[in-house]
């Protein structure tokens, strides 16, 4: 899901390109770069990291420029592998999305002809091939190059001596923005909308030459043709939300697929880690925020399935704690893999001599270089600041790990392991069932949106879920919320219960269910409105003011389902309050500061 932007016209290319790339950041990326044709040379700047890390003021004024964001799926993200690529002489620059199937034979040939490659990417062959084919006519060289390569691609190229953008696409999106005395090109329309709403969609095999005031397009048979100009009627933000009003809701709805992708293969054949090399006498989870809550759920999972004693530490606290003489396996969780406190904690754990394992969603992110082993959640890019599908997939990974560790430690029978795996396999569908009930869950939030304080209570494995529910509500609805173990309410917080403090109680049929019924009774007696989320039960129906019952699931696997309900509760509460759900105030998606 890389992003491409190109510009030709009188504006500062640096500004147009960087803003355009930012509009494509929903596609996910790990490195970014721009090249500008300026005063008969190609200026190049590319970096692993954020678009914001590019220094806009260093980009010279020029006639045209191209930009790219890369989301590595194979191959590591690095400065070298980032786009654009330039040829040996520094006269041509290209960016590319897709895969060049026949790159290795072309590369060999080019190396024999003396070309020097600076990266391991397939994309780089394009620029050297262009250089090889260039004989004073850039368009001719470009056409020749495109006929040589097979695969899927969207290519954008500039030459220092010619005032034009050259574009071609095959099975990879590319759209031209038709401006007034300026033209643009991008892999998706949101990058263009700031400048124009008139676009031309290229079709497979098309080649286009774009100048400030002209657009020529040739089809795959090299016939000069017209492609219709269309007017885009939606605004940039709507484009990638797939009919959902916010990325957060879209991502909540992507959870069945995210779980499916994360368990795929790992259920039938778990071979990515050699567990025998670890000290499995104790496990320590280290993380921040929502990831810490995933680790906290993990503590209960590991203790139950693999019979391993576990502790949980916040990254920012662990760093400054005193080393003890135990050497637990340290599992670090970070969605982005860039959370500074967690990276520092990984270094500290290594220093103390622990085995370290990171669970993250971003390939080759910083944390992966600090630890012994990495497991990737397969959640896909998460844009909403409030973590949803990455929490879910982190917890799914912990179930998978716990089962494998249980087998490794001889505390789990094969039969029982298969039963746990079957439960995991059924999770995507059960989450889907909850999502189909979204209207019912939305109704629960009417009273919540009017409250100033809300309590979340749970017991056992759902206690961390109560914490996570409260965090999510604070984050996006800006309502003060607190999560407690249900038994702790009477040790203080009871003093705050009134008819104006709704309580969301998680009640599943594990060994704490009877106690939970008692707690809910006590809360109701203080006139606090009670919303129950949990297993279907007649008694609960009577006690609670409102309820939502999750699909039948063993208590050990209930946290994921309960949490999806709480995500929707937070979302709809924030929605009723008209909050900026995808970008809550004062918060950032990856916390790369201490």
């Amino acid at each position: 899901m890389c992003g491409i932007v190109g510009y030709i016209g009188p504006k500062k290319p640096g500004e147009v390109l960087i803003n355009g790339l930012k509009r494509l950041d929903y596609r996910g990326y790990d490195s970014a770069g721009v090249a500008v044709s300026s005063e008969n040379e190609i200026y190049l700047q590319k970096k692993k990291g954020r678009i914001g890390d590019l220094s806009e003021k260093d980009i010279p004024i020029g006639k045209s420029g191209i930009g790219h964001t890369r989301w590595a799926t194979h191959g590591r993200p690095s400065d070298h592998n980032a786009h654009p690529f330039i040829d040996c002489r520094g006269e041509i620059a290209i960016v590319h999305n897709g895969i060049i199937d026949n790159f290795s034979s072309i590369k060999e040939e080019l190396i024999n002809n003396g070309h020097e490659f600076t990266s391991e990417t397939d994309s780089e062959v394009i620029v050297h091939l262009l250089e090889e084919n260039y004989d004073g006519d850039f368009l001719e060289a470009f056409k020749k190059t495109v006929t040589r390569i097979n695969g899927s691609y969207a290519i954008l190229a500039i030459h220092k001596d010619s005032n034009e953008l050259l574009v071609s696409r095959n099975q990879s999106p590319m759209v031209i923005g038709v401006g007034d005395q300026e033209n643009l090109v991008a892999s998706d329309a949101p990058a263009l909308l700031e400048h124009t709403k008139n676009v031309k969609y290229l079709q497979d095999g098309d080649i286009a030459r774009i100048t400030e005031d002209n657009i020529e397009i040739w089809n795959e048979n090299d016939e000069l043709i017209e492609r219709e100009t269309k007017k885009i009627e939606w605004d940039a933000e709507d484009a990638e939300k797939g009919g959902y009003e916010h990325f957060m809701l879209k991502e909540i709805f992507e959870q069945p697929k995210a779980i499916h992708e994360s368990i795929l293969g790992r259920l039938t054949d778990f071979n990515e880690l050699d567990l025998s090399q670890y000290n499995l006498d104790a496990v320590q989870f280290i993380a921040c925020g929502t990831s810490a809550h995933a680790g906290f759920v993990g503590k209960y999972i590991f203790e139950k399935i693999a019979k391993i004693p576990c502790t949980l530490e916040f990254s920012s606290e662990y760093r400054h704690s005193s080393p003890s003489d135990s050497y637990p396996l340290t599992i670090l969780l970070s969605q982005s893999g860039e959370t500074l406190d967690t990276i520092a904690a990984a270094r500290e754990a290594n220093r103390r001599g622990n085995d370290t394992l990171a669970i993250t969603n971003v390939l080759d992110s910083s944390i992966t270089r600090e630890v012994d082993d990495v497991m990737y959640t397969q959640a896909g890019p998460e844009i909403g600041v409030a973590a949803t599908k990455t929490f879910t997939t982190q917890v799914v990974m912990l179930y998978l790990l716990a089962v494998e560790m249980g087998i490794e430690r001889n505390v789990l029978s094969k039969d029982q392991a298969d039963k746990y795996r079957d439960e995991l396999r059924r999770l995507p569908r059960k989450v889907e069932t909850i999502l189909n009930d979204k209207e019912k869950i939305k109704e629960l939030t009417e009273s919540l949106s009017k409250a100033d304080d809300i309590f979340f209570v749970g017991r056992n494995i759902n206690y961390p879920v109560a914490l996570e529910g409260a965090l999510k509500l604070k984050e996006i609805a800006y309502i003060h919320a607190a999560g407690y173990p249900a038994g702790e309410l009477k040790h203080g917080p009871f003093a705050l219960l009134t008819e104006n403090t709704p309580v969301i109680a998680i009640a599943v049929k594990d060994q704490t269910f009877e106690k939970m019924l008692g707690n809910i009774g006590e809360i109701a007696a203080r006139d606090s409105p009670v919303i129950v989320v949990g297993d279907q039960d007649k008694e609960l129906e009577k006690l609670a003011d409102e309820n939502y019952f999750i699909p039948e699931v063993p208590p050990l696997f209930s946290p994921l389902l309960v949490n999806v309900v709480l995500q929707l509760i937070s979302y709809y509460t924030a929605y009723r309050l008209d909050r900026d759900i995808d970008k809550p105030r004062n918060l950032a998606k990856s916390v790369t500061v201490e």
Binding site: L264, T268, R426
Partner: protein
């Protein structure tokens, strides 16, 4: 040229299988019906697609997105305030602002093939209706042709006695003037495309093109088996996943990533098995069957000519014949279905159905030793206790003790 796909309806006659997704998103051979339509159009070089969506539209929009993954540019129009029945013209009318030249229209709920579309494109005129031959014409709009067989003479909706075996596929080419005709008939209280066509015929000829390509329709739940079987014809042999010892696979069978086929299992194509499934040991799956993602099929169970959707779990020693099993259905051991010719009653009409087993809608739970008789429809989210025999249709959410 643009293609419009009408995908706003629920498909009420397919209830209870449309409880949480529109008919167009029901999977056959593990792909939503609508995807066959999009693929057929794109393969003919048409990329600009406008989808008219309505009922559970997010299921459609989040699946297809902007069309990139399907080689298309997909634009969506929402049909609000759907007329109670037969609102195809009203749905089409929603695209009026996006169309300024001749265009083609497809219903989103029939499985069609590449040549269905090319038959239309090669010979179409300003107003064209694609027609096909049907053995059961009275379920559809029956057409008669004028002398010479080139143009439509008459279109009769669901006649009791059919004057011909030719029916409308609901696939058309139109000039943008069609919107004026639609405006006119809507003013008279009609909201369907056939009524608009009546208006067109007052002034223009409507060319009839008979397609040899696929056009397969599911009206009722039992029709899904037929559609599934037809879609499976296109399946190619491809094995991903882990295949155990002594597994025998014959014919075109496609097995998805991360699926485990345990020892002694027999699979006969055309059959598709999705991703992340756990099948066997000693399971027998015969043609033409589809098994969705993350399904679990226990030992010694046999599945024959059935459509089993995603997340289904079926225990051991069960027999699934000519049946439709919806998403997330959980069945314990020793479950039986059997197949027979049946008269099935829905909405007061009696349908003669051949060789039909059980039809069980999503999230229903079935205990051990249950038998569901031929032709019985079990609703969504039911719970059936062990040992029961189900002889009649059961409403969604029922409990059978």
């Amino acid at each position: 040229m643009k293609a419009v796909i009408l995908a706003a309806g629920e498909g009420t006659r397919l209830r209870p299988f449309t409880a949480t997704e529109p008919k167009v998103m029901i999977p056959v051979a593990n792909k939503p019906i609508l995807e066959y339509v999009v693929d057929a159009i794109v393969k003919n070089g048409i990329k600009d697609i406008i989808m008219v969506v309505g009922y559970k539209r997010q299921k459609i929009m989040s699946y297809f997105g902007n069309g990139d993954d399907f080689g298309a540019n997909i634009d969506y129009v929402v049909q609000k305030n759907q007329p109670p029945t037969g609102g195809t013209a009203h749905a089409l009318y929603q695209t009026k602002n996006k169309i300024d030249e001749e265009f083609i229209v497809f219903p989103g709920d029939n499985v069609i093939s590449e040549d269905t579309v090319s038959d239309l494109l090669e010979n179409m005129e300003e107003y064209t209706m694609l027609i096909t031959r049907s053995e059961t014409p009275s379920k559809y709009g029956v057409v008669t042709l004028k002398k010479g067989g080139k143009n439509i003479e008459n279109l009769i909706e669901k006649p009791e006695r059919s004057p011909s075996h030719l029916i409308s596929t609901g696939i058309y080419s139109f000039s943008p003037d069609i919107f004026d005709h639609i405006e006119q008939v809507m003013g008279e209280g009609y909201y369907d495309i056939p009524s608009a066509i009546e208006k067109v015929r007052e002034r223009n000829e409507i060319k009839a093109i008979k397609t040899q390509g696929d056009w397969i329709d599911a009206v009722y739940p039992w029709d899904l088996l037929h559609v599934n079987g037809a879609a499976l014809k296109e399946i190619n042999k491809k094995y991903n996943g882990l295949i155990g010892e002594n597994v025998m696979i014959k014919g075109n069978v496609k097995i998805g990533r991360g699926t485990r086929i345990r020892g002694g299992t027999f699979i006969e194509g055309p059959t598709i098995i999705g991703e992340g499934c756990d099948i066997g040991p000693n399971v027998c799956i015969t043609s033409s069957s589809s098994i969705g993602d993350n399904a679990k099929i226990g030992p010694f169970t046999s599945i024959e000519n059935s459509l089993v959707m995603g997340g289904v779990a079926i225990g051991s020693n069960s027999s699934i014949v000519n049946s439709v099993i919806g998403d997330g259905v959980k069945i314990k051991n020793n479950f039986s279905t059997y197949s027979d010719d049946k008269n099935i009653e829905t909405d007061g009409t009696l349908h003669k159905v051949q060789d039909i087993g059980a039809m069980i809608a999503e999230d229903t739970k079935i205990g051990s030793g249950v038998t569901v008789e031929a032709g019985v429809i079990v609703g969504k989210g039911c719970e059936i206790k062990s040992g029961s025999t189900i002889r009649e249709n059961i409403d969604s959410g029922s409990r059978v003790m």
